[in-house]
Amino acid sequence: MAEQDLDALLKRMARARVPRRGFLAGSGLAGLSAFIAACTPGASSSPSASNAASSAPSSEPSSGGESPSAAASPSAVAVTETEGTLLMYNWADYVDPDNIEKFKTDFKVTDFTYDTYASNEELLTKLQGGAAGQWDIGAPTCEFVKAMVEGDFIEKLDWSKLPNAALIDPQFQNFYKDADADLNNYHLPKDWGTTGISLRTKVVKEEVKTWKQFFEVAPKYSGRIVVVDSPGDVFVAPLKSLGYSLNSVDPKELGEAREILRAFAPHVLALNSDTYDAQLANEEAVLGLTWTGGIADLVDKPETADTRYVIPEDGTLYWMDTWVIFKNPPHPNSAYAFLNFIQDPAVQAKESETNRYATANTEAKKLVDPKVLADPTVFVPDDVVKSGLLEGAQDVSTDPLRQEIWEEFKSSIGKH
């Protein structure tokens, strides 16, 4: 555990060159309200709608919870008495430190443990190794909820303890459809974003607007390309450049993707999920297949203001991380208290501003700094959402052919 803390600390140190906060120079783009209005199917099956609630109850000490709750339910009541301890297992740097302090003060939590994992696969493997009872809450990416429910690693959420769940946009809460719809009772959306192309326009002069162009210019910037160390994201690029679904397990389609990755691998400098922003900042890398995290901070800084994040026009993945409560949590009250607390609009708005990821909480979005709201790296522009470019991920990580291709890619990066 100590080593995990240390790991998180180091990652933070490594990133410290890029200031975590700052002001954004965004181009005035509309927020997500149209998106939400446009795609809100089957809200009736939404657990949040059925269990709806007022926002922060009067007994809940956090501020700013005075949102006009659309579907208030008197039955949902927030937990206010905690066990004084909360054990969180999460991605590094993923909760606003001030919010953590506020939670500790407001709920008299003295022991707040924040352990970190580097990938969903790592989290799942730990759980399969029997680690479920070690932590209270976690935040996997939503497509992994299915495997976690099947493995009996997470609890069904008791919506009557989560009044703020009513504020979540049903579009995100109902991530799972049809036969899998019950899985939506196991998670509470944390935030979401896209996988895309990052570039330093100072060096990369070509227009890179699609994955196809990304692969075309790659040889020119050989040895200066950073890629996130995540198979689910790396497969997006070749499959989308070919016009296939990013969740494809079709051998023919994967075979074509494999050829693209084979040609691409020698040009990659690093597989790096944690500090790709630092490598872009010091120009070790000038082109990247990355997430949005950290990119907005680079744009803010004068020396790296030429950094751009592009949502590829041939389509890309949208991911959503989501809160879960692990099976038999040692501190169930703290877990529910935190989940409700973090979805308080004011708290959640601060989360978006600090982490620079889009919230799924409609009330919180109204409180987010307009500059952050207008930043395409944080909140995806309306027209992109409408164009149908974004595709949600399924857990296809167990596909043997994908694994084989991934291993081949991973073992051949940087080798000519």
């Binding site: 240390l6 790096n272 990580s397 990066i413 940087g414």
Partner: protein, 302 residues
């Protein structure tokens, strides 16, 4: 008189038997913790790994009991990670030797009063986490560190150390050098200096003295140090990942991929069993070498 005399052996035997029994109990009690430690933390995990290596992967990952040799076939079909690690470990061990031997020799024979200080300086890095020390190299070798300076100096902007095999090799040597120096230092420190004087008196030059006197005496330490350095280098994961940017795909990376990314425990276990076998071969060779070394020395002393 006779009857007590005759009776005498019986109580004595009983006492002896009881004493022996008590001694055995005491020995058992003293050995038990070590035995339990050995069984629980060493034997049991290895048994589990071996069992897993014959199993199947579950639908969402993990392990399902089965009996198949497929995992071994898979591990044999992809030996590249083994060779990558082997190459790094062999070169790393040789470099550690080249740096460690002169250093140990200097501390043991020439440092005089500074000896304690130098030993402390060697130990100090161990007070800090291995991870922090490795991260520090990222700063040292990064574009804001030495490499940036060299780039500015030579005008060659494509020059870099991080993300190359050199970066990994440097990190390995840095990380494990003390494990080479200490055993060497211990053997050289205990060396009888008069042997060197004798060698010189008998007309041997510096090189001949080193080759025929110092080196044979240092051999056990040299082999111990090499083993201590070689084994962790084989399985090293952190250094290639941090300093090599994940470009060097050795056994550590392959095991990580199989266990944590592919969630294929059986396949990872088969690979781990292979690694254990390689280590067994190395250690056996080590024991053989050291024993051989001892015989040679005995003969030379006679």
């Amino acid at each position: 008189m006779t009857s007590p005399a005759l009776a005498q052996p019986r109580p004595a035997a009983t006492v002896a038997a009881a004493g022996r029994w008590r001694a055995r109990l005491l020995t058992g009690a003293l050995v038990a913790p070590a035995l339990a430690w050995y069984v629980i933390l060493l034997v049991a995990p290895i048994v589990i790994v071996v069992l897993f290596s014959f199993g199947d992967r579950g639908k969402t990952g993990g392990y399902v009991p089965a009996f198949t040799l497929e995992n071994y076939a898979g591990a044999i079909a992809k030996p590249e990670p083994f060779f990558t690690s082997l190459q790094f470990s062999v070169i790393g061990t040789i470099l550690c030797l080249l740096v460690g031997l002169p250093l140990a020799y200097f501390i043991a024979t020439r440092a005089r009063k500074r000896k304690a200080l130098l030993i402390v300086l060697l130990v100090i890095p161990f007070w800090t986490s291995f991870l922090i020390r490795t991260y520090a190299w990222i700063l040292i070798l990064g574009p804001d560190g030495i490499v940036g300076f060299i780039q500015d100096l030579t005008g060659n902007t494509s020059f870099r150390i991080l993300g190359t095999t050199w970066g990994v090799q440097l990190g390995l040597v840095y990380g494990y050098l003390p494990l080479m120096v200490f055993p060497l230092y211990v053997t050289l420190e205990r060396m009888d200096r008069t042997l060197i004087e004798a060698s010189k008196d008998l007309g041997a030059g510096r090189w001949a003295t080193f080759r025929q006197v110092t080196l044979p005496i240092a051999l056990p330490g040299l082999i111990t140090g090499s083993i201590l350095v070689f084994i962790p280098m084989m399985g090293e994961y952190v250094i290639p990942q941090l300093l090599g940017y994940g470009q060097t795909f050795g056994i550590g990376s392959a095991l990580y991929l199989r266990f944590l990314e592919a969630r294929n425990w059986p396949s990872g276990s088969a690979m781990a069993v292979f690694l254990i076998l390689i280590m067994l071969i190395v250690v056996t060779a080590y024991v053989w070498f050291t024993n051989r070394g001892r015989t040679v020395r005995d003969v030379s002393v006679v």
